[in-house]
């Protein structure tokens, strides 16, 4: 077995978070555009034999939606989507997301593409896993310049859930909505609490011994490199080529 690629580690890490028995069940997961690692995680969960329905929004053949993109939001409004993935150009210590841009509204510094459905999905999905591979003070900031979607809401505001965790290229954070703070859960190989602190713009909790993010198991790696890759190659040819090579 060759070296574990970071993408493989991240996919396996996301898969474990999806299967977290302490979290509400993930029977139906939606994965947005341009999210190959979350998509790989979902396929891994499914191919490990767990009963989960996947709605992959940019799968061209067999697109599950017959009401266009509206259907994802309606499905989520109905409470039928249990888990979604979000990222952000900036993510802050209260799990606020900025997908709009830096500087003054609407992004007069660096303009990001925009909020997409985040201002709705983050409230209406029981669980959101935040995922951003780049782990830097530029991305993980004390306070986002603009809030596309807030991490927590005042009492009385209807909200089904918020961030369960934040997975980056360096570590896994758990999110605690009661105190609107992240805590460090595990470190990827080569990282320390200090190295993570140095790369993180927001303050976070790190109590006790912080363990290492587990390696993908041999079975997980085999699935990722075999069946998962096969499922994903139509939608994410570039990603599959880069991580797993062109050959089948």
């Amino acid at each position: 077995m060759s070296d574990i690629a970071l993408e493989e580690r991240l996919a396996a890490t996301l898969a474990r978070l999806i299967l977290d028995p302490a979290a509400p069940p993930a029977r139906h997961i939606a994965v947005g555009a341009a999210s190959p690692i979350p998509a790989a995680a979902c396929w891994l969960v499914k191919l490990l034999g767990h009963p989960v329905k996947l709605s992959l929004l940019h799968k061209r053949s067999g697109n599950p939606f017959t009401e266009g993109t509206r259907e994802l939001f309606d499905l989520t409004g109905q409470g039928r989507i249990d888990l979604f993935f979000l990222g952000g150009g900036q993510i802050d210590g209260q799990a606020n997301l900025n997908l709009v841009g830096t500087g003054e509204w609407p992004g007069t510094g660096v303009r990001f593409p925009g909020s997409f459905g985040s201002a709705f999905m983050y409230f209406m999905t029981p669980r959101t896993i935040l995922f951003r591979e780049e782990h830097s003070p530029r991305v993980l900031v004390e306070k986002v310049d603009n809030i596309s979607a807030p991490g927590v809401s005042p009492p009385g505001v209807f909200r089904r859930g918020t961030a369960q965790a934040l997975v980056t290229g360096k570590c896994v954070f758990a999110f605690h909505p009661d105190r609107a703070r992240f805590s460090l859960s595990s470190l990827h190989p080569g990282e320390t609490v200090d190295s993570v602190r140095a790369a993180t713009g927001f303050d976070f909790d790190a109590e006790g011994e912080i363990g290492a993010t587990p390696d993908p198991t041999a079975a997980e790696l085999a699935l990722l490199r075999g069946q998962v890759r096969a499922e994903m190659v139509e939608t994410y040819p570039e990603f599959c080529g880069r991580v797993w090579g062109r050959a089948a």
């Binding site: 939001f73 709009v100 925009g114 709705f120």
Partner: protein
């Protein structure tokens, strides 16, 4: 009404019109966008349903656009939309950010002839803070003063502009599962649609076709534009042309590069057609 070309459709759109466009994954009429550039449209207000892609970027780059309302502008795998980003940086366009389901809901309110529709979420975001046209009220069905909820006003575009696979003799168009285009057409004052081809008969007489049809009731004018969605995909007919978009993204990094691209891909094409 069947017109001879996408340019004839574009001629119906006056400067300043509010034009609703689906994004690159949902049957944009790039043919009409290019025709609007050729006709020198100005001050268009574009609505991305619910996000914006290639067609919006080229219209902005060509100086046709005063304002964009959208939930995101992106070229997908090819990255940020370069002409949108430049215009925003230079203060040449107004950007009105929304969130995807809000745009669907504002159109559905118009589709239903109601003045507003409620939507969960959004509260506490700067999207809401920057939308004085959106309101928060206490949910009238909750206990007194509890449960704030956002109300979105109905939005009626002047034009729905999209591409469909087929039109029939009756002026119905067929676009299969991409039914959000139906909502855009229902919500808009007029709908301009390019199609790959026109076939005899009436799709509404065929149960297999009827559910993917937008009936002629909503369609103002149609024209044939072969590969009119390109570089976007069209159902099972042709795929997304990633190389074309990547080439555009490289060219449009600079104003000069964009101008050269326009000359080659928008103006020269029309001259070639006219010369034939």
């Amino acid at each position: 009404m069947m017109l001879p070309s996408a340019d004839a459709l574009a001629a119906l759109v006056p400067d300043g019109a509010l034009v609703a466009l689906p994004p690159d994954n949902s049957l944009p009429s790039v043919a009409i966008a290019k025709a609007l550039i050729r006709r020198g449209a100005r001050d268009l207000r574009l609505l991305g349903v619910p996000v914006s892609g290639f067609a919006t970027d080229i219209l902005i780059g060509a100086g046709c656009v005063a304002e964009v309302e959208t939930s995101a502008v992106s070229l997908g795998e090819a990255g940020f939309a370069p002409r949108f980003s430049a215009a925003l940086r230079d203060g040449r366009i107004i950007v009105r950010d929304a969130t995807c389901p809000a745009i669907h809901s504002m159109l559905q309110a118009s589709e239903k002839g109601i003045p507003f529709m409620a939507l969960r979420g959004i509260i506490g975001s700067d999207i809401l803070a920057n939308r004085p046209d959106w309101k928060v009220i206490p949910n009238p069905f909750a206990e007194e003063g509890m449960d704030p909820i956002v109300l979105l006003p109905a939005k009626q575009p002047d034009f729905a502009v999209f591409h469909a696979a087929l039109a029939d003799s009756e002026g119905n168009v067929w676009l299969g599962r991409r039914r959000e285009c139906a909502t855009i057409a229902h919500a808009s004052k007029a709908a301009l649609v390019t199609v790959e081809r026109v076939v005899e008969g009436n799709f509404l007489d065929d149960e297999r076709m009827a559910s993917g049809v937008i009936s002629a009731t909503y369609i103002t004018a149609t024209a044939i534009a072969k590969r009119g969605a390109r570089p976007a995909a069209l159902l099972d007919e042709y795929g997304f042309d990633a190389a074309y978009v990547a080439d555009y993204a490289r060219a449009a990094k600079t104003e000069d590069g964009f101008r050269a691209w326009l000359d080659r891909e928008v103006f020269a094409t029309a001259q070639k057609v006219a010369a034939e």
